[in-house]
Structures are given as structure tokens and as C-alpha cells.
């Protein structure tokens, strides 16, 4: 008995298909598993990400282009599932102020594995 890579990749695809959009914000409170979204979301950054799959893994790239959020100090970001109803993760980082000539990319890896 062992979990097969084929099965893990099926789970990966189910999650991958459920990834809806990503969003950034300015909240600074440390993330907890009980969070249900960002602390202070910037709705301008609510965008569909690009997604790449590899064996038992997904890479999600959330791009905030140069026309969005100039002057804003971003410090949190999330990946939304299920048409935005649910949230996969929330990360908090030291703030980065976005300049008018800056394009941001949040690149997140997600792994599916047997434990």
C-alpha cells in the first residue's frame, strides 16, 4: 500500500482547478490558520494568477502590474479558492512600497505529498 504519484497529481489538479484569484493587502498582523482572508485587502490587486503544474506541485504567480497600487506599501497576500469563497493561504511580509514603474510578482509553490 502506498500513495501513488498519479493519485497525488489528481489531488493537485483538483486544487489547481479550484484556485480562483489572488489578492494583496496592507495588513501586518501575523497570519493564523483561523484567518478567513486578508486583514486589509486592496481590491485593485484581486487578479487571476497564472498557474504552472509540475509533478505533485503547483506554482502560482500573482502579477500586480505597474498601473496598480502605486505608492501602496503591500505587506500581505492570499490565494483564493472556490470562486473567492475560501482562502488557501495568507502570507505576511515586511512591507514593500510599490513605485509607479514597478511590477510585482508573488510566486508561490504548493506541494502535495504522502506523509
Amino acid at each position: 500500500m502506498v500513495l501513488l504519484s498519479d493519485g497525488l497529481n489528481r489531488v493537485r489538479d483538483l486544487v489547481n482547478n479550484d484556485i480562483f484569484k489572488c489578492q494583496a493587502g496592507t495588513g501586518t498582523t501575523s497570519p493564523t490558520p483561523a484567518d478567513t482572508g486578508l486583514e486589509t485587502a486592496d481590491s485593485n490587486t484581486l487578479l487571476a494568477p497564472s498557474k504552472t503544474t509540475a509533478s505533485e506541485s503547483i506554482q502560482v504567480t500573482h502579477t500586480i502590474n505597474s498601473t496598480i497600487g502605486s505608492g501602496t506599501s503591500y505587506s500581505e497576500q492570499e490565494i483564493q479558492l472556490n470562486s473567492g469563497t475560501d482562502h488557501l493561504n495568507r502570507i505576511v511580509h515586511t512591507a514593500i512600497t510599490k513605485g509607479s514603474e514597478d511590477e510585482f510578482n508573488y510566486i508561490t509553490n504548493i506541494f502535495f505529498k504522502s506523509l
Partner: protein
């Protein structure tokens, strides 16, 4: 009849069918049956748009000022790496953290490992780039060949653990 057999204290046995050959099989572990989802690192990169024409941009959206197909659109610079629970785990699924300017060993997203020949090097890019400092590193290795020497540069004084096997 059945009562007679019982009262006689004799064993009864079913001699019909084939011998059960499974009864002495022992299932050896470990077998992994739990599916885990692991959130990996998030890299945050910034690209400077330079003079590139960006439709809708307040300054770079002016034809005659900004250039279509500008070549000075900056390559992405990593400005943060955020790790859930402050743990970075290299799964070798993506090569984002392989510093190809230094690495000479074979980084494989097919076999999910990095393999070394004599004097080869593997170096990652920044794997912690937020507010954390690295406390310890664990490396899982499979040793082959007659002799293997591993040198780990722990100039920062961090504890380094080498574990043979996967």
C-alpha cells in the same frame, strides 16, 4: 453426529479447497497513506518597466514618449522570500531557487534531487529574505561510490545536519 465429535475432543479440519498461502505473509512498512498539502515558499519579485509602453500607465502610456517593445524592461529582482512556519523545504519540483551561476551539480526536476560528481557544487539563491535568520539546515543524501566527502559552508555558525538516505 456433531455432538459426538465435540464430546470426543477430537479436532476437525476442513480438507476441502487449496491451502491458505496468505496466512503467514507479513506486511512490512513504512507505507505512506496520508496525503499532505505543503505550502511552499513565496517569492516576491519586482521588475522595473523602464521606458516600456504600458497601456493605461500614467507616464508609460504615452506613445512617442514610451517605446513599444522597449528592451530596457527590467528583469525581476527578488525582494522577499516568505516561508510558512519559517521552514524552507527544497522539493526539486521547480528550479526557482537553484543559483545556476554557481551550481555545477545536476539539479533534476525529473528525479527530484541534485546529484554531485567530484568537486561539484550546489548553491541556492536566497531562501530566507524577510526578517528571519537561518537557524539550522538538514540535508538528506544518498551516498554512492567508494568515497564521498561533503563539505558544508556554515560560516554563519548554523547547525548543519547530514542524514543519509531519503
Amino acid at each position: 453426529m456433531v455432538l459426538d465429535l465435540y464430546n470426543s475432543h477430537r479436532e476437525t479440519r476442513d480438507n476441502l479447497g487449496n491451502q491458505d498461502e496468505n496466512k503467514n505473509l507479513i506486511l512490512l512498512g513504512p507505507y505512506k497513506e496520508t496525503i499532505g498539502t505543503e505550502l511552499g515558499p513565496t517569492q516576491i519579485t519586482i521588475s522595473n518597466i523602464g521606458d516600456a509602453f504600458i497601456l493605461g500607465h500614467v507616464t508609460n502610456g504615452i506613445l512617442g514618449t514610451s517605446m513599444l517593445g522597449a528592451t530596457n524592461y527590467g528583469s525581476p529582482t527578488v525582494v522577499r522570500v516568505v516561508n510558512p512556519n519559517n521552514i524552507f523545504h527544497e522539493h526539486f519540483r521547480f528550479s526557482d531557487f537553484n543559483d545556476t551561476t554557481v551550481t555545477t551539480a545536476s539539479f533534476s526536476t525529473t528525479y527530484f534531487n541534485v546529484s554531485f560528481d567530484l568537486d561539484e557544487i550546489f548553491q541556492t539563491k536566497s531562501i530566507f529574505y524577510n526578517v528571519e535568520s537561518v537557524q539550522y539546515v538538514t540535508i538528506y543524501v544518498n551516498l554512492t561510490g567508494s568515497k564521498t566527502t561533503i563539505t558544508v559552508d556554515n560560516g554563519g555558525g548554523q547547525l548543519v545536519t547530514l542524514t543519509e538516505g531519503t
